[in-house]
Symmetry: D2
Subunit: 416 residues, 4 copies
């Protein structure tokens, strides 16, 4: 047990992933569920002094009304993942967390999201004022719970893409934007990121929203000595893609077409039914292929809302490729996974690794976390195995430094 | 152009893969087809002085009667891969190759194979005599075509597994076996391997037949300074498996079941319809999963003969896995590829790399070729990306040695 | 409400399907679940005076020890189908039913089943005595619950196929068999059927076990004026097959191969992992195709035990067919359904329709129920649409007779 | 052999389907290919005096330049369906047909199609004049080849949907439209249909273009005693849908979602990449489900252009359904078929059956052909088996009439 607990501030705290993160952590704490699916629970992390899940304290904000209890009920019964009786056992913990859930912002997040905002008549505060408001939420969360550190994770719905302009590439210019209330240049995700980083909180953008970790914001993170990383958690179809696509390169097989069709039925799916918001998602998914293959085959990624599926995302990918003597062949896959169940353990991983990085004095981007993201900022490597190697290399370096010597590390070998 | 051509001696010369190897090489020579699907044609091999496909001279042996022309006709029209008019253009080359196709042996290869043997009344020659006979075939192929080197590739039908005994682990003991005509201890593949290695020919076992490269035979190869490698070309379902399985480890997802169902309709499928022969195949496929995951999930690989598919192998794999909070999810894939079309370019790769290794004075196993095999002898690594790294590391070493210095090699980087 | 309730005697009462039948009926009675999946709940049955599910009283027998409560818990939580809280609400009803569950017989059911038998030292009673014992169970069930009628349904594990001999084709010969204790000529399913029919109970064989409704037993049913039907409930892959296969005939497309691979993880799957028991299942599945197409394409049905799937049967079917100018094309399907959830409502349907037939004085086979079975006894029609037409024709006849006139019936039209 | 041959006038004569129709007919005539895939070649048609394929004479029109020979070469080699040597053997016949291919019209067919029109500067003729021009083409085809009858089949690219107005529901009003040159009220397909019917030619609309067989045009067909039918040949995904969807009704399973994703790479796919043209296709596909089920589940049909697939349409359908106690289950299918290969034999069927209907004096719609169409005009029945029954009933009636008596017809029985 550490002296002080570490806080986790979830943006979109009532959403599917946040709920699963919290339910999972609370249930793990009581030994009701296992840590399967958490990368940091694998033996590759033996000897790495990560914060224990038990030592995390949850809070956050959301634009919707409602309780975590309700979200948990809806989500986990619909996906049939959790025995309702388990929910009963963590009932009290919900009450505690619920108190730490504050009102969020949907500023300039596009119609689909703004429609969800419970405070419909939210007045247009000046930007600086809104940021102060978010900062105060984090500060009081920290104070009330006597937290040593707070990690902020963006799990809100995907915003429409933001067209990056000069002010997003330069911190000083961006500060002027804020001063002059240039509403169009910021989205909710930008305000959150700015507030978090200025408060010294490591910030993880698990969504595709590109308004969050703009180059200006990374500059801020470097200046403030805060580790940050994004974008877009790699949980399903893209995960498989990044594992499979290198195979075609290794075998010098030419990918002719890679068509991917996703259907899902949770709120994420509902928001992504809006073309603008979908656009963000598809952009982060799109680059994976051409980066891995070195060329751009005919490719399409579609996402369709299918309510009956709830949280169970289903994806069909059809890969058409050419082999020897021009022969055309194909590989298809069907992925059926619970979106939030896949995402939640990775969020816990990222929290633990961000806290660790902060403790080690790292600042700015965390390329060692590239395997967790569809579009890892500042990293060109999209092959899953190579991204994972970046993580194990990082762990090996950490171990070596700590041990003050260059021993061949057995665990490192095992995890390769 | 080199001084002397390099010979390729194909065991099972009239089979699907051999035919495709020869048709492909002859058609490439005339610029009628591209080299897609050949690993050694990718840019990772830039600067590596491999023998050109044009400089290969084909020959081999088979237990069936028939001509390469017929095999090519049947195969390539059935798979619809090659324009029949292309076959017309390489007609004459067939005549040349045909002359170099000799009679093979089916000794102790199991009923399914022996039934195919055209010389039904083949008398049981003493083992030494039979080996001499095979050796002479290779010698005369070499002499008649003025070849500098001959590479032998086993592409014959899969034999039943051979229960390895003391004599298979010790060369001296094995020699005694031969002297004493212990028929049960050798299969056709053993005789071929012995003859080839003793003639100084690099030997590639592209089949699962474990009678070929026994430890005793590897000992022989080391003694004779001959590079050898096997077993079982990794062309389809197992290839995908070795690319996908690591993903589950990287994400700490627990594979509960991995069920694979293969259907195919070529001669390979017909032979594998026999339980004994199928057994060999399934053994080499089986170990991949447990080696990659570190545990053995419920797993099954079945292979069924489905004549209408001809050479188009189709595989359905159903992977059931457990994630966070015990949730069960699944990944399915369907692979549809032409067996011979996938195998043939790899055979050309292996020929080129084996010839290269011989020229460099390598002896015994070639672990750098592990990515080509389902069950690479002497290699525990089954993850495709790591196996491929073994190959690129080898290439980088070769380049470094040749350049006599430790420059950071750009090509090596590109191919990672 | 009728004067007297109708009893349902389930053979294999602790198995997955029986449990689901009872849980479903009890939960429906309390309005906790809907009747979706019950054919007799569709509007085609409007105006047909079937017994209400509320008026059914459950009992039965099993060779295993255990309680329905346990079975329900295991099954329904594993399949995540039913909210555990619903189980709580029908807790008391279980106690009532439990009292009516007696010990069954596993005589000559093959090793796989006999191993499950809780009474390992069951002495070999004379056949007549064993039948009396089963009869008394049914009689006391009837008496204790003041039932007007009892319907018997065989839901026990699949037995190995019984080689039918003269005594199975002729009732008098079969009676002699019983008299002479020819143990090898009867299986458990035979004894149950004989006892049930002689007690005047309509008998449904929902399993593939061919020992149950032999021609001799159908003769008995005719003599005793008892309606009977079987074999093997058509719930999953075969259901789809019987819907799809006619399409190929209608279009004059030639089916070349139809390969079906089933994987499942419940007790049914475990028993079917035994080659002998599997044989029965595969036989009933096998005839569907050739009967529909009029010829026998290359075809295979396999069933593999995959524990992690529990009750969720998954089937991959690959259909290869030839069209115009000899072009080969394919259709694949993947069926993912809960075995017991699919079967249970059909069992309720069959109970209601058997009770109805008995009340109407029908005797012997009920061909109108062919759409419910993989291998409907005495019916050559396997096309699902035509089988369903047999059912609606029957309903229309019933309505016409009852109305005493030949009106065009609107409901009949709607259900066509 | 009949006195006179029957002409077939194909609109879109250089397209994939037309080409396959002609190649197929010509190759059948020489005994080079079988009639598999032609419904009228099945034994259900024994005793029905249909015109022989040998007695058909082909002609048509297209807006593109090019030769049938070229189309055939591209198409059939790309799909690998036909041995190129077979094309050689029908070379001369092409020359003959080619002479009968005239210039067509793309009037008001939407941008995507008009761009293909070789005569870019096509002047806007008055409508009546354009119709005369089309009529004369048909007349001269008839005269030059001494044809007894000409059947017209629309196989042109799919036009955008036409918003039907008063003039499309009333023949007199439509005639006024033509007189007044109301360009916006007619599409190319309308002009073709009008010209054909007025020339007494049976007209088949194999495309989804709803401008062709408007109610006004059906009125014209009735007046002129010409049999007509459409719309949209049912060849692939929708065929499977109409075979599978009834299964869910028969079992009282509730379809929650039916998501269909089509990918294809021929000209049809290219045209359908245009949202307007796609709209027509999706409309005819959409109604099938709700008509069969009696309710409208969440449903989507998408069509995406994937060039590498050429003529091989691939469709993935995901069907999510609810069963007993609310359990959700799924059925997926993957259809891989050559679009033109599936369509061509049906076109030959429709030609034969339309000619037969004309000979029998039928006029207006031919509901007996409903099984051939995705959106059969005037027919509400979408279940494949029931549609097929409409055809066999028709055949039985024809036979009965001809035989002048009500014998139980054996063939009718066999084909049911």
């Amino acid at each position: 047990m550490r002296d002080k607990k570490v806080g986790v501030w979830l943006i979109g705290a009532l959403g599917s992933i946040s709920t699963t993160v919290m339910v999972g952590a609370l249930a793990m704490r009581k030994g009701l569920v296992s840590s399967t699916g958490m990368v940091t629970a694998s033996e590759c992390f033996n000897g790495i002094d990560l914060i224990a899940v038990e030592d995390l304290e949850f809070g956050g904000c959301d634009i919707r009304k409602g309780t975590i209890r309700e979200s948990a009920n809806n989500l986990l019964w619909e996906t049939r993942v959790l025995d309702p009786r388990v929910l009963g056992e963590i009932e009290e913990d919900f009450v505690h967390v619920q108190r730490a859930v504050k009102s969020g912002t949907s500023r300039n997040s596009g119609e689909a999201i703004q429609k969800l905002d419970a405070i419909t008549a939210r007045r247009k505060k000046p930007l600086r004022e809104e940021i102060e408001c978010l900062s105060r939420s984090i500060q009081s969360f920290k104070k009330e719970n006597e937290l040593g550190e707070v990690i902020v994770v963006n799990l809100a719905s995907t915003e429409p893409p933001l067209d990056l302009q000069y002010c997003h590439y330069n911190l000083a210019a961006f500060e002027r934007c804020l001063d002059q209330n240039e509403f169009e240049s910021v989205r909710a995700s930008t305000l959150y990121a700015y507030a978090a980083i200025r408060e010294g909180c490591p910030y993880i953008n698990f969504t595709p929203s590109n308004g969050a970790l703009t180059p200006a914001m990374v500059e801020l993170a470097e200046r403030e000595s805060v580790p940050v990383m994004g974008n877009d958690g790699k949980t399903g179809e893209t995960l498989v893609k990044s594992a499979l696509a290198p195979m075609f390169s290794y075998r010098n097989l030419e990918v002719l077409s890679w068509q991917g069709f996703n259907i899902l039925g949770n709120m994420d799916g509902e928001i992504l039914a809006h073309p603008q918001n979908k656009e963000s998602k598809i952009r982060t998914k799109d680059q994976v292929l051409s980066r891995i293959l070195g060329y751009s085959p005919h490719s399409k990624v579609s996402i369709d809302y299918t309510p009956s599926l709830d949280d169970q995302k289903t994806a069909w990918d059809f890969i058409h490729f050419r082999g020897f003597m021009g022969a055309k062949m194909s590989l298809q896959f069907v992925w059926q996974g619970y979106d939030s169940i896949l995402a939640a353990p990775l969020v816990l991983d990222l929290i633990r690794l961000a806290e660790f990085a902060k403790r080690r004095g790292e600042a700015g981007l965390m390329p060692q976390l590239s395997s967790f993201f569809k579009a890892p900022i500042g990293v060109n490597e999209h092959r899953l195995s190579e991204q994972f190697r970046m993580l194990t290399n990082y762990l090996n370096n950490v171990r070596d430094v700590r041990q003050g010597l260059q021993l061949v590390n057995k665990k490192g070998d095992a995890c390769r």
